[in-house]
Structure formats: structure tokens, C-alpha cells
């Protein structure tokens, strides 16, 4: 089977499907690599000459067309560096590199792709939570009987906003890692991909959103907690009132019973 949007080999031939989830044509194959909760289709093309002087332009154009064909809202990012080229989009990527550099460049690309996918997921999650903010924000001020049916969903969103914060904290060291010096090819490619996709800025933006969510859902959780405590107290008060009333009734009955019987001298 031949995929319509498959990558081209050096002769412009499309890649064939081998039925095992990987497409193979000669040396070219499409790997499906899990990155966070997404899958990245990856093509690795060894460059003919390590100095970047090969006539790889046709190959590069074909790889770019293949990556672009996946139609995500992010246009492909192309990073050429000293004879190696990495083309990346969130669901497809291609590496054109000299043989000796392939393993390290692949690792750097996947490392970046994992960061990007994780950040993308967190951006989505922050977006979803922010979408409910107007609806939930009043509960940060006041929570009472009228809101009782929303308690479960508020608790769930509180948990999600805490999770979001934790995931961001987990991701930050990978996004903000210091540049490597003396620079290696793989490290430079990773840094340039991070720069081009503005990973650090995006992380900061999600952190700002998480700050807002934090404040609102933290207050909501407090209000729900306060309400639960208040309800418990109310119940207790009623129990005490009922008990006191019962005691009063018993006392009354005893008094009345005492009135009805004539004392014997």
C-alpha cells in the first residue's frame, strides 16, 4: 500500500506501507513514536555527505512537503545547522543528518518533541479550565445550598488545576535547561527548536494562566470546605436542639405524671 502523503526517497519515490505501523521504502521508514499523549511520525534520512555540501535540496523539499502535509495549525519549523536539517511539526518530523550524527540528533528531536507535546497538552488543559472560569468564579466568593450540585465538578477542577501546576513544575527544568557549552550539534538543534517554538515563553504563559486558576479554585475549595463545615455544624446544632427538646418533653411528661398522682401521707 502506498500512502498519498508519504515521504519521498532520494528518487522522489513515495514511501510504502509494510502493514506493521511503519512504512518502509529502501532505507526510509516512518516510525511512530509516542511523545507524551500524542504520536509523532518520524522519518530519518541519512545525508550523503557530512559537510552539508551534498545536493540534498530535493530530499529536503520532499521531507518538508511531507511534514507540511499533516495539516496541523502549526506550520513546520525547519532548522538547518551545519549539514543537518530538522523539520518538525507537532505530528510529523524529519531528520536529514550525516550518519554519525543521526542517533544524537534523533534523541534531541524526540526530547524536544516530548517537551512540546507535554506543553501543548497543558496549554489545552489550561484553556479548558479557563473556559469554565466565569461560571465557577462566583463560587470563590460565595458557596451555599444553591451551588450544592456543582460541588463535585468544582472539586474535580480544583484537582485538575493542582495537577496542572504540578505538571508545569515537572516540565519547567526540561524547557528552561541551560544551553550546552561547548555546543554539540544535538544540543544546538534542541536549543534552536525550543527557541523557534518559543517553548520558554509558552511555558510562562501557561504558568500565568495556572496562577489565575490556582487562585480561583483554591478559593472555591476553601468556600466548599467552609460550607461543608458550616453544614456539619448546623446538623450538630439541630441534633442538640432535638435532644434538648426530647429531654424537655421527657421532663414535661415526668412533671405531668407527678401532678396526676396524689401523694400518700
Amino acid at each position: 500500500m502506498i500512502r498519498r502523503d508519504a515521504p519521498m526517497d532520494g528518487n522522489g519515490q513515495p514511501v510504502r506501507h509494510d502493514g506493521s505501523g511503519q512504512e518502509v521504502l529502501g532505507q526510509v521508514r516512518v516510525e511512530e513514536v509516542p511523545v507524551d499523549d500524542a504520536v509523532l511520525e518520524l522519518v530519518v534520512l541519512p545525508a550523503a555527505d557530512a559537510d552539508g555540501t551534498r545536493d540534498g535540496e530535493g530530499q529536503e523539499a520532499a521531507a518538508l512537503a511531507w511534514v507540511a502535509a499533516c495539516r496541523t495549525d502549526t506550520p513546520p519549523v525547519q532548522v538547518p545547522l551545519y549539514g543537518t536539517t530538522v523539520i518538525w511539526s507537532p505530528s510529523r518530523a524529519a531528520i536529514l543528518a550525516p550518519h554519525a550524527a543521526l542517533v544524537a540528533v534523533r534523541e534531541a528531536l524526540l526530547d524536544f518533541a516530548r517537551c512540546d507535546a507535554a506543553l501543548r497538552r497543558l496549554e489545552g488543559e489550561a484553556g479548558l479550565l479557563l473556559g469554565r472560569l466565569d461560571e465557577d468564579a462566583p463560587c470563590a466568593v460565595e458557596f451555599d445550598e444553591r451551588h450544592i450540585e456543582r460541588q463535585a465538578s468544582l472539586e474535580e477542577r480544583f484537582r485538575r488545576s493542582v495537577r496542572l501546576r504540578a505538571d508545569l513544575a515537572d516540565l519547567a527544568p526540561a524547557v528552561l535547561r541551560p544551553p550546552v557549552h561547548p555546543p554539540t550539534l544535538a544540543a544546538q538543534l534542541g536549543e534552536r527548536l525550543r527557541e523557534r517554538t518559543r517553548l520558554a515563553d509558552r511555558l510562562e504563559f501557561v504558568q500565568a494562566k495556572a496562577d489565575v486558576l490556582d487562585r480561583v479554585y483554591d478559593l472555591c475549595a476553601q468556600r466548599v470546605g467552609d460550607f461543608a463545615i458550616a453544614r456539619r455544624h448546623l446538623r450538630l446544632e439541630w441534633v442538640i436542639i432535638v435532644l434538648l427538646a426530647a429531654e424537655l418533653v421527657v421532663l414535661l411528661v415526668e412533671v405531668l405524671a407527678g401532678l396526676g398522682t396524689t401523694p400518700t401521707p
Binding site: G52, T53, H181, A186
Partner: protein
């Protein structure tokens, strides 16, 4: 109370920064006069255009150093306050014999494992000698240790020769001199500035000259263009006099304070009158005169033909004893043309100064490795800017003196005469700003303490 009259000699970045800061810090009315020898302010920060096309290039300072990853960066702060947009610059490629050595992996693969090991050992040594924080503070501390040990001793220890050549080519244009003419500390700093943990690089989008233009637009000082200062002395009444020349006439004016913001190459050309002052300035110049040289050849091409192989904002070339090639067109995202700027440094720059512009442009074109592409076929126009003795090979002098001493050469009889210069710190714009703010703060404090001051 009449305003205090202050003269600033030199309308380069040093003079302009001093005026800008002083106007903001002064707690009483001041009247500032800036003397500038040329018909423009800005000194060695200039962004001219080619004749054949309205395409800009940097003819002097090309990159600004960003220390904000380590600590506060006053230059970054000033650029932001002036509302100037910036963009990062980067590049790590060294072209040796037409081979692109872009990364440490390339050093290993193309120069061999021994060269790679030597590079890592050199890197280790440099980082062990100076942490980012120590580097950041280095211009301020007066050092008593052997900072004047020559850098060539360090370079001589680098083996094999391929590693040494790689490092020398990489460092030459930042040093602007030969390793034997500078200190170990300064040499290693020029290596470490390639490490983003120590500093980043940026430029002002649309041309670095906007920095000095923005400063000039903001200062209220009276700027006297084409009026070089010839001599400075003290009047009988105790104030300082400044003698200048305008249109063939000699003018003399009295000031309460004089700040001389001249580079080391120009300072000895001013006559300081009065036994003590003259001797102090002579000693100052003898301590700080370690001239280093630059020469820029900038060529406009029809297209950036080299980008197939190198896409960095700058890269190093093993010609002219090691030079930096700036891809000036990379600074303009809409550029259709290509501009390459050769920054030739040290003895090669000094020797080349005597050659004609045409010769230098031809030499620059010849120096392009064949695999980059045919420069002659794409050639449109070439420009040359000569900067002999324009920077310091040993900033701070043989031994770094205390900061106050560097800025006030004769404190006893002339406590109101100050010096500002990049050569007092690290021979960069960051250095000249440090120097300017030190003097501006000092003069502002004296104003506040003096008669009619706020204190």
C-alpha cells in the same frame, strides 16, 4: 543659585551615557555642554548605508553583550528604557581550510579526538578560572594576583596544533590583538563570552546607531559638533577651562566640572595644562595605552549565497590571522540581498590599514572559501572602515586600579576633572556604560553635597 556648568568632552557612547545619566541623577540645575570633534555624535557606534542600495550595515560596534542571565544588566536596562527593539545574535561556526567546524562534535570528527579533548580541557580551565558571577564583576575588582600573565602562555599549552588554531581563530576578533599582548584573564573572558551561561549577544533591530541617536535625542545638553577640545586647565579663580576649536577659531570657556569621555587613542591628543595634572594624565595614559586594532570590510552581495553552508549571524574565518564574518543581512528578516562584514583584528588589521579600499575589498573576496559560493559573481559594493588603536588590548591596564582612581586621575588639585572610557573596564559598550554611571553618580553626589545642593 546659578546652574552648575559641566563640560563633557567626546560625544561617543561614553559622553552621551554620562550626559543622559547625569541629567536624570542631578538634584540641582545643571548646564551641560558636549564637545564633539566630528559632525555627528555616536563615536564608534555607526550604522551607515551602501551607496548603490539603501542597505544598512554596522561599521563599528556590531553586537551588545547581555549579562541579564547572571545579574542586572545596565546596558540591557538602558536599551529597554530607550524603547529600542532588540534581537538575539548567535553563531558558533569556525571555518578552517574550507571546513565548517560548527560544534564540539565537528571538532571531534574533523580535527580529531585529541583536538576535541584539548578543547574540553581548555573549556574546563576557563570555567574553573572564572564563574559567570566572577566574570560579571571582573571589571570592578582591583586584582592583586597575576592578572597580567600573558595569554599566549595559556595558548602555548594547547595541543595538538589543530586545537590551538581552532581556538585562536575563534578568539582573535574578540581580542582584537595577539595572545602575547593581552592577559590570561582577558583572553579566557573572550573565550567564555561564547558560553550563554556567561553572556548572550544581541543587536538593535534596525541598526545599533539608534542607541546613540536615542540618547542624543533625550539629552538636553548643548551639543557642539565639529568642535574638538584641544586643551584643559585651571583658571586663576579655581574653575576649569576648556579650549576648543570651531571653524578655525580658538574658544575658551570655564566650567565647574569637566568629564573627558575620550577613547585612549584620542586622550593624549588633548593638552592638559598644569604640572600636576599633566603628570597625572601622562601616568594614566602610560598605564592604559595598550592599543588593539580593528578594520572592517563590508560587502553588499546580490544574495546571501553562503547560507547553504552557514546560517549563523556570524562565523569565524581562518584568514587575516583569524577574523569574524558577520552576516549583516541576517539582521533584516526581509532582506533579499546579502551583506557580509569582515572584522579583521590585531596586527593584520593594523597592517591592512595602509592598503587601499579596492585592495582590501579584493582581499576580502579572495578570503571566502570556495565552498561558500562565488562571492565575485554576486558582488555589488564594498566599504572599508579603519579602526587602528580604537580598542584596548588590556582593559584596565597592567594591573586593575581601584575604580575611583581610574576615573579621577588627579584628585588633589583637580577633584572636579573626571575620565570616562571603555578601556577602564572591558573595552565594550557595557564597560563604557559602567564607567559613565560611576562618574555620573559621583558628580551627582558632589552636586548634592556642594553649595545649593539637595544634601
Amino acid at each position: 543659585m546659578h546652574p552648575r556648568r559641566i563640560a563633557i568632552v567626546g560625544g561617543g557612547p561614553g559622553g552621551l551615557f554620562t550626559a543622559w545619566l547625569l541629567e536624570r541623577m542631578a538634584s540641582r540645575r545643571i548646564e551641560l555642554t558636549i564637545y564633539e570633534a566630528r559632525d555627528r555624535v555616536g563615536g564608534k557606534v555607526l550604522t551607515p548605508s551602501f551607496d548603490s542600495a539603501p542597505v544598512r550595515y554596522e561599521a563599528g560596534a556590531a553586537e551588545f553583550y547581555d549579562y541579564s542571565a547572571v545579574d542586572e544588566d545596565p546596558l540591557r536596562h538602558a536599551v529597554a528604557m530607550l524603547g529600542l527593539p532588540t534581537q538575539p545574535l548567535g553563531g558558533s561556526a569556525v571555518l578552517l581550510d574550507d571546513t565548517v567546524v560548527g560544534t564540539a562534535d565537528d571538532v571531534h570528527d574533523r580535527l580529531g579526538p585529541a583536538a576535541h579533548a584539548a578543547l574540553l580541557a581548555f573549556d574546563e580551565r576557563a570555567k574553573a578560572a572564572q564563574s559567570p558571577r566572577r566574570f560579571y564583576a571582573s571589571g570592578f575588582d582591583a586584582v592583586a594576583d597575576g592578572s597580567s600573565r600573558r595569554f599566549d602562555a595559556v595558548m602555548d599549552a594547547v595541543h595538538p596544533p589543530a586545537a590551538r588554531r581552532y581556538l585562536e581563530t575563534m578568539l582573535k576578533s574578540d581580542l582584537a590583538t595577539e595572545p602575547c599582548r593581552t592577559s590570561t584573564e582577558y583572553g579566557l573572558q573572550n573565550y567564555l563570552m561564547n558560553d550563554p551561561a556567561y553572556m548572550g549577544l544581541y543587536c538593535i533591530s534596525g541598526g545599533n546607531e539608534q542607541l546613540v541617536q536615542a540618547l542624543a535625542a533625550r539629552v538636553a545638553a548643548s551639543v557642539r559638533l565639529q568642535e574638538p577640545v584641544m586643551a584643559i586647565g585651571r583658571t586663576a579663580s579655581g574653575s576649569l577651562w576648556v579650549e576648543s576649536r570651531r571653524g578655525g577659531q580658538t574658544l575658551v570657556e570655564a566650567f565647574d566640572t569637566v568629564i573627558v569621555a575620550l577613547p585612549m587613542a584620542h586622550l593624549p591628543l588633548v593638552r592638559f595644562v598644569g604640572g600636576r595634572l599633566e603628570a597625572a594624565l601622562a601616568a594614566h595614559c602610560a598605564h592604559h595605552a595598550h592599543p588593539a586594532h580593528y578594520l572592517r570590510v563590508t560587502i553588499l552581495f546580490d544574495r546571501p549565497f553562503w547560507r547553504r553552508r552557514v546560517r549563523d549571524a556570524f562565523f569565524m574565518l581562518d584568514r587575516f590571522g583569524g577574523c569574524c564574518l558577520y552576516d549583516e543581512s541576517a539582521r533584516d528578516p526581509d532582506a533579499t540581498h546579502g551583506v557580509l562584514g569582515w572584522l579583521i583584528a590585531g596586527t593584520a588589521a593594523l597592517e591592512s590599514c595602509a592598503r587601499s579600499d579596492d585592495e582590501l575589498v579584493a582581499l576580502a573576496l579572495d578570503s571566502l572559501p570556495a565552498s561558500l559560493g562565488d562571492g565575485r559573481a554576486a558582488f555589488r559594493e564594498g566599504r572599508v572602515h579603519r579602526w587602528p588603536g580604537a580598542v584596548s588590548a588590556l582593559p584596565g591596564g597592567e594591573r586593575l586600579a581601584p575604580v575611583d582612581q581610574r576615573h579621577r586621575p588627579e584628585p588633589i588639585d583637580h577633584p572636579d576633572l573626571f575620565l570616562v572610557g571603555d578601556y577602564l573596564f572591558d573595552s565594550t559598550l557595557n564597560g563604557v556604560l559602567d564607567s559613565a554611571s560611576h562618574v555620573a553618580g559621583w558628580v551627582a553626589a558632589r552636586l548634592a553635597e556642594g553649595p545649593g545642593g539637595a544634601a
